[in-house]
């Protein structure tokens, strides 16, 4: 059987900076994420960055338009040939 290379979306969570671009680009509002600010002062200077807690994709609503893949500046969303679940959810441990 021929595989559809665009069967679902793959989140590469370690690349995601929680920048919200994909969440805001999605025309059908089917992406969601939660993140929290992490402050690191170990180097003597205060550095803060966002840490992703949760990322969800509602495939019941997603229309596979690919805008989220195109807009992500960090290559954290990619096309995948895996068949999608109804609801995808990623949570940090």
């Amino acid at each position: 059987m021929a595989m559809n290379p665009r069967a679902s979306l793959e989140l590469i969570a370690e690349n995601c900076t929680s920048c919200m671009l994909c969440i805001r680009a999605c025309p059908v509002w089917c992406l969601e994420l939660d993140a929290h600010l992490e402050v690191d002062e170990s180097s003597g200077r205060r550095r803060s960055s966002l840490a992703l807690d949760r990322f969800s994709i509602d495939y019941g609503t997603c229309m596979m338009c690919g805008l989220c893949v195109d807009i992500c500046p960090f290559e954290a969303l990619e096309w995948s040939s895996e068949l999608p679940p109804t609801q995808f959810e990623w949570r940090s441990e």
Binding site: S18, C19, M20, I23, R24, C26, W29, L31, E32, L33, D34, A35, H36, L37, L50
Partner: protein, 131 residues
């Protein structure tokens, strides 16, 4: 030239088929657009545009009736001389294609409203002027 005379002139010029008619909301006015096609050369067409309200052209192009009735109820505009009996919507329903009309699917919370980096600043989704 008025809407009617413009369409009449094109019809006299051989653009004898009303292919399509609808409207768009642009800034503060609703603009009605019609597309006329030459039946002898279906590839050639002309667009005519005019701010609403305009006169009905059903006597000139009977096929305009469906489009004018649909445009009248969807955009809440009048076509002078048209019997605009409701076509698809229940009587007295608001014109659903006007930008001020809330889209039910967009009344829920937008997942992009809060940026975790700036949680105090909230943003409205694009294309929802009723918020």
């Amino acid at each position: 030239m008025s809407w009617r005379s413009e369409l009449q002139a094109l019809r006299d010029d051989g653009f004898d088929v009303l292919d399509w008619l609808s409207a768009t909301e642009e800034d503060d006015e609703v603009v009605v657009t019609a597309c006329l096609v030459r039946s002898e050369d279906p590839g050639s067409f002309r667009l005519v545009r005019s701010p609403a309200p305009v006169e009905s052209v059903v006597d000139m192009f009977p096929s305009a009736q469906w489009h004018e009735r649909e445009t009248a109820e969807m955009f809440g505009v009048t076509f002078e001389g048209l019997n605009a009996a409701p076509l698809l919507l229940p009587p007295d329903s608001p014109a659903p294609l006007r930008k001020a009309q809330p889209l039910p699917a967009r009344l829920s919370q937008w997942p992009g409203e809060v940026d975790p980096a700036k949680p105090r600043r909230r943003q409205d989704p694009p294309g929802t002027p009723w918020r």
